[in-house]
Symmetry: C5
Subunit: 317 residues, 5 copies
């Protein structure tokens, strides 16, 4: 696992706060299990109602229920939902996603997304609500008409987050006519941009479609290396069987050198009971270094306690 020290852009008087937030989000492991709850804005209702989707998914509280039961997942969502449900989920760690856009517009415009809340507003919200907000999240589209503006907004948000002792997570997606979005070279480039911008974690695509899973994980090292001391978490991708998710995750962490997973639809489209089992299985792998077998048992609800991780974590904690 990547060894690192806190970025120098953290205001010295906020360093303790930063380390506390890092510990909060990663359960002292340096790894991050991010539960993505920003699709209500990003995809409107398409991800929440449909033939393969659990009916309870249409209630925004579904995110909170899953996260609360996940044994260590961090809920990343927009301020509005946290403002409305946070009082009932005071123990959850949060990443406040500060930008977002719908899937309605023409493609060109879809790459534009202004910050909806400033970091100062998030800091104020954290203080007055008393919630466990550990980071801000920002989605950055590269290659589009608004790249210049988005790079500037991302850099500013990260800087301000560090000044305030918060972490900053980037979602980075290279886009454009001739851009091969699934190409590892392109993905690695986006990871490098996150490093240049001082992000703590970067969420990037993972080439799930590769034929050989181990080879894919090996190739993915290009991206985790390019990110330098910025840690990489992989997107969960389109809906997959639970077993597949767990297997990929194990390879991403152990071979691909990733530092966690961001998962959305693969969790919340499942009924709460199943989503909980899956979340706990993922959590065991990411945060407790459980074996694939142990994780599968958690998902299948077999009462084999996950062994304590083998202590490979060599990071800050």
């Amino acid at each position: 696992m990547k060894k690192n020290s806190p970025p120098l852009s953290v205001k010295p008087s906020k360093l303790t706060e930063y380390l506390k937030n890092l510990a909060l989000l990663t359960k002292n492991t340096g790894h991050l299990f991010l539960i993505a709850g920003d699709q209500k804005l990003e995809h409107l209702n398409s991800d929440f109602v449909g033939p393969q989707i659990a009916p309870e998914d249409n209630d925004p509280e579904h995110f909170f229920r899953i996260a609360a039961a996940s044994n260590g997942g961090v809920l990343a969502t927009h301020l509005g939902l946290i403002s409305k449900y946070g009082a009932n989920y005071r123990n959850l760690p949060y990443i406040v996603k500060i930008n977002g856009k719908t899937n309605l517009g023409p493609n060109e415009e879809k790459d534009s997304s202004l910050p909806l809340w400033s970091v100062a507003e998030i800091v104020n919200f954290k203080k007055q609500s008393g919630l466990k907000i550990g980071a801000i999240g920002y989605t950055l589209y590269l290659g589009g008409k608004y790249e210049a503006q988005m790079l500037a907004e991302a850099a500013k948000a990260i800087y301000e987050a560090h000044q305030a002792g918060l972490l900053a997570i980037l979602w980075v997606y290279p886009r454009g006519k001739n851009v091969k979005e699934e190409d590892i070279h392109t993905i690695a480039g986006g990871a490098g941009v996150a490093a240049c911008l001082d992000a703590d974690f970067v969420k990037i695509k993972y080439p799930y479609g590769g034929k050989d899973k181990k080879q894919t994980a090996l190739k993915f090292q290009e991206a985790t290396a390019a990110a330098g001391r910025t840690k990489v978490i992989c997107v969960g991708g389109s809906k997959q069987p639970a077993k597949e998710i767990l297997a990929f995750l194990k390879l991403q962490l152990e071979i691909g050198q990733s530092s966690g997973l961001a998962i959305g639809r693969n969790l919340h489209q499942r009924p709460l009971e199943e989503a909980t089992r899956l979340a706990q299985a993922i959590s065991a792998i990411i945060l407790k270094n459980a074996s694939l077998k142990e994780a599968e048992n958690i998902y299948l609800n077999k009462k084999t306690a996950a062994k304590k991780g083998t202590g490979k974590f060599l990071g800050l904690f």
Copy 2:
């Protein structure tokens, strides 16, 4: 009815003020009867002079006269009109609509609408005028060229309103070439966006054209569920007979789980006397849980006093 607690984005020192405003706007019911008076800007004079329109509708004071006689309606209009007539209508509760645009431009540009007044200006205006202003209103077009800008403006206005102890009402309209605006899925998506943005109420389209009215109201539950703890009020739609309006309203509230109605042309294009009877009938349903029959009698001016509501209100109040 939806049970909820105040959003955590309300500044703690303004919580009493927020609850007072919520009580003011909903008459302690949690339901909202919004009288839409923003069409003088939105539609120029087209809604105010014409063959089926009462001559008195061309006088902007018509809005105020109806609202004052409505037994609980809240007037939502632009600051200019409130500034000019408010001194004569000091008991009316107001929602100040902070953006708006005319119907003149090309469609693409019609989806752009900047805030005309900041929340700070509304707060200052409330203080110096002493008027009963309980909320700001903002129209959000999704899917257009200016979506990113509008999302940001909406989020900012809501945040600032909550900081000041005001409520925030969103008008949300998904738009665009391939967008089916009347589709419940699309409508529900817009409602979910309002939840992500921390709106207190969201005004959305209602599919009035459906064949089976009960089925339509049932389907509408997708939207009210997607909105989570943000309450939904339906638009009044194009001109309909009074009886139809009341019947739809009853179904929206009881089956569709909505929390009120926003009505404009269906009120103000009628002469004051008739508009008053209709407004009082609507008010009885929304705020006093009157039966359809009772409401019809109010509209027909039969002196059957509306029975006190059956106490289904389980919300904050």
Copy 3:
């Protein structure tokens, strides 16, 4: 005449100042005689040099000379000219026009016009110069590419003017491909927008081309009614014989319910001596309720003193 009270957006501590400015601009009548001196920017030199134009019109001081001799006209022009000539015309009341554009660009761009000076700068200029500045003026184009921006700028300027105790005059022109600019319905719509924005006076087009002058004035009531408590002044239109101007004006005030006239080229393209006679005749009608005959005599320089107005003014003063 319209009866009204000051807008509630006037800062209470500036109410006396506002009423003083209203009295200054309207000579305590509630009516406004606006001498438009903003064409040097709007039309470059086209209105100032030509075969039918008095040679002295090319000197910007011509505006000031006419206004000073007009018996009550208010000069509306840009800050630059007031800054250069104001020291010699300290008794003139002024409206500082805060935006403007030339007639050079493509039509689309012609509908864009940013504020050249902020209200704060006008207030500071008033204070340091000691000039009698009673209002700011803003031209608002509706229907164009920049409508959203202009609506926002107009609302802001009016709000700030009222906060400072100044009046705000809007020039409102609906524009666009399918917009019938001379249609009374369109004109009335623009007047209503001014009301929504809290303007004190709105300058709108008058359909001078109508066949029956009385009918036209009657139809114009749609616009004055739509403006609510915002007073309406008519544009002077293209060059007409003096007698025509006076006749139209009388009908506009008495039948059309307007509150004054804004006149530019019809005054300044005449030699000073004739412009003075015409201005005084206009002034007599607007501010002293002179009869058409009396006004014609003033224009013809016949020494029949205008009778004192018949006291129809029922407004604030």
Copy 4:
């Protein structure tokens, strides 16, 4: 010559400073001899290296050397050059050109030019450097896509300059598809815009190509009259023989009612020795009212001392 008083937009406490700067720039004559040194940005290296251009012109210091030897010329250039060479030319009066653009872009974009430095930055630079900075300069393109923005920036810069006791010089160029840039009517329109914006001096085109030079100068009166109390200086135009320059200048001042000249390439493309003689000849005409013969002798370096001007200067000084 134009008689005038300082604009009322000058902050009263800065009036002495303003008058001092006016005296500095015009050597107490009210006339201005502006040495244009802004082409390094405007034209890149095209004006500085070439077959008809003195090799020393490629050194930016050439501007300073000429100005220092010119007997009264004011150097107008960008802040960067003044910052680098000013310490060696402390006695030179400066106009800091605050905007500019290159000649590379497509024509449409060439009409856009944002301020590079704010007036506050110029004021601070003046204070800390101790240099004799008397004015800011701004180039305004009318008729282009960015007209609205440029008008606003120009007005703001002039207002702020006057607040700080600095003068403001506008370069005004009407542009566009159907605009006849050399037409006196167009030129006069631009001059009038400068007056509306409160400029102290305006630099405009002069129709050098006219057949009859006296007639041209007479026609030019339209522009100087349209400018009102804003003084007019003519551009130097493309490269001409020295004798021509001097002859035109004399006619511009005496018949055309201009108040000076702005000269760039016609000076700096000459070797220092010749440029000095030409600058001194120009200076004698503008600032000392020398006869054409006297000026020619200065250029030809004949030791006939220029007689003291015949005292026609009737301006502020």
Copy 5:
């Protein structure tokens, strides 16, 4: 070598700081050896992984390792990397590149690049980190759609840097359809723009493709002369053999009158050991005036100590 004094835009109270930074960056020689580490953002991963590229180049720390071993090179890179690695490289002098963009977008948009960090943020970062940050860097594209904006941002950044006692380095690239980017005339024009903007150093293209290397270096004098007192450093160009790089560099400095070199891919695509030898050879030429032979020996690791420079440095130090 160019003789100069500090720009007058340096705040007097920060002059000592400025001189200290100049000494830091140039090792008291007035020459600059810039190690360009901004391609991770500019070129994504294309410059860091490939057949001719050392595997270690994919780790962002590679930049730091080379710079630390270079004997005098200054690392120019984005804030994110400095924030993450700076604690381990406290003795390195840094130039913080404050803007940048990827190579993904359409060409037109590629010429847009907003500042990612303000100068105030850099100053704060320097203070809290204690790192040796001597300058900010900014890439300016001339001729594109965003030229006006970029010129303004560049001027502002330079001004603010000087106010804070930092140096400012510009990367200047003229662009556009009919622009010959390799033409010395065009290059010189860009250098002149940097002078107008008050840059301390300007990094420009060098026409490496010329047939006669000495002639090319002679021609390059046009650019160094046009830059006036702004010093010129040449870009390193595409990958070349080490010997070629050193030979070009010697000619650039001695004949072309340049003041240093900026080198990126030519260094970091080499393995650390070779990159170190090359960097030290370059450093010897730039900072110690080593002969070409001496430099080649350093590159070849022959233990001939570079003689002390022959003292041609006549600059500020």
